[in-house]
Symmetry: C2
DNA sequence: CATCTTGTTGTACGATCGTTCAATAACGTA
DNA sequence: TACGTTATTGAACGATCGTACAACAAGATG
């Protein structure tokens, strides 16, 4: 009987370093977001998921919004970090780097409906929360720089390989628009797949993106302008 | 003084037909969604925006979720209807129809950060609400059919114009992937603009989409497959 | 003008929200 | 072992949530 009875030496809880506990709460927040969407963002749900009492959140974070912003920062950094790592891991051919980027974009853990749920909730908070806006601004620029860098490599490579006569003709405006279009295509396909996974395979999404980049570099002006 | 004093014959409220009141509540719901995001979805906020007391919502709708689902249905129908109308209004050239579609997509009232806010909140509800899922399924298929129809026109036109020898070569798979890629590009650009309106102009988004479709129809296989 | 129907009001209720705070106890340190 | 620091608990608070419902009144009907 009473298998639940605590032996006298068994502590009822374990103290942790503030940094570790903060990280655990951040992970619990994201987990709740995946499981319950926006409704998962209550201190009671989060603290229960973290195996901790309600009051502890306000001991490690000034308020709930700061915890959510911290979770958003972690989530963003995780994504950008994974992308940077995937690209860095690939060979130094621009084409292979792009392929690595796309493969990472269209495979787990990124390609997951739960991940979309998390993003959507954060987007929903974006417009009315200065905190979320600031975190977005601070973390997203690394992602933009990565995309622009990859495309710039590809376009200069294609430019130098194609012809030596008009080597400097590709205008800067094309890189800007190319990055915009590429990001839109990747994000749009990712969104589409997460909303309805049955309609196409990840490999097809990668092929679509690579074909877009291909038609971009085959002719110097690309599909960016008619 | 007391300009607020009601003259004895002034009625304190006006009775309306259930259908009219329902519609007014739906419009108020969308308005609150635009203004306050997810936090605007409370019966008190909505009823205040509609100039009506709290209890009236539960008199015209079985519960709050049904009101939200009705608002989602209206919002979807409004968008799809505007798109169908814009395309129907255009001349019968497939190119012009596509242009009309893109122009409607990338101009007000669709191209609006407030509209994005509304979408994001609905997406956030999608995964955990059977009601929202059903409404989405019922209303979105018209949109998909419109896009597929436009692209099919363009591809068959390009096919017959290009060469009579291999007229029947364009595989069906290309239309499917083309529609997927096109939708992704349009939605992705739209999302990007709403999140950060300063980075590119609507006309540039339209040009990007038309260039994509152009490179799709120039060579029979298009950028869909390498 | 009296009557009836029913759209509308506004209070009340229980549940849940985020936050506060005094009490508790885990665990490093002397 | 005794002490001190502080991470942790859990009850309590006021606010707000969605819903129910009895009372009210607008407007059609006779």
């Amino acid at each position: 009987m009473t298998p639940r009875q605590r032996s006298p030496k068994q502590p009822r809880f374990r103290r942790q370093l503030p940094e570790e506990r903060r990280q655990a709460l951040i992970l619990a927040t994201i987990e709740c977001l995946k499981r319950y969407g926006h409704d998962g963002l209550s201190v009671r749900t989060i603290s229960a998921a973290a195996g901790v009492s309600v009051g502890l959140i306000n001991h490690h974070f000034p308020n709930k919004d700061e915890l959510i912003a911290a979770a958003y920062r972690y989530f963003n950094n995780e994504l950008v970090g994974a992308m940077l790592a995937a690209v860095a891991r690939a060979a130094d051919s621009p084409r292979e780097r792009l392929h690595a980027f796309l493969t990472a974009s269209f495979s787990p853990p990124n390609l997951d409906a739960d991940v979309l749920t998390v993003w959507v909730v954060f987007w929903g908070l974006y417009r009315h929360s200065r905190l979320i806006q600031r975190v977005h601004q601070e973390t997203y620029e690394d992602y933009v720089r990565l995309v622009r860098g990859m495309l710039a490599e590809l376009m200069t490579e294609a430019r130098s390989k194609e012809s030596r006569s008009n080597a400097a003709r590709t205008p800067r405006a094309d890189l800007r628009l190319a990055a915009i279009g590429f990001t839109a295509l990747v994000d749009g396909l990712w969104l589409e797949w997460c909303l309805e996974p049955g309609t196409f395979r990840p490999a097809e999404a990668i092929a679509l993106c690579e074909a877009w980049v291909g038609s971009l570099t085959r002719r110097t002006r690309g599909p960016a302008l008619e």
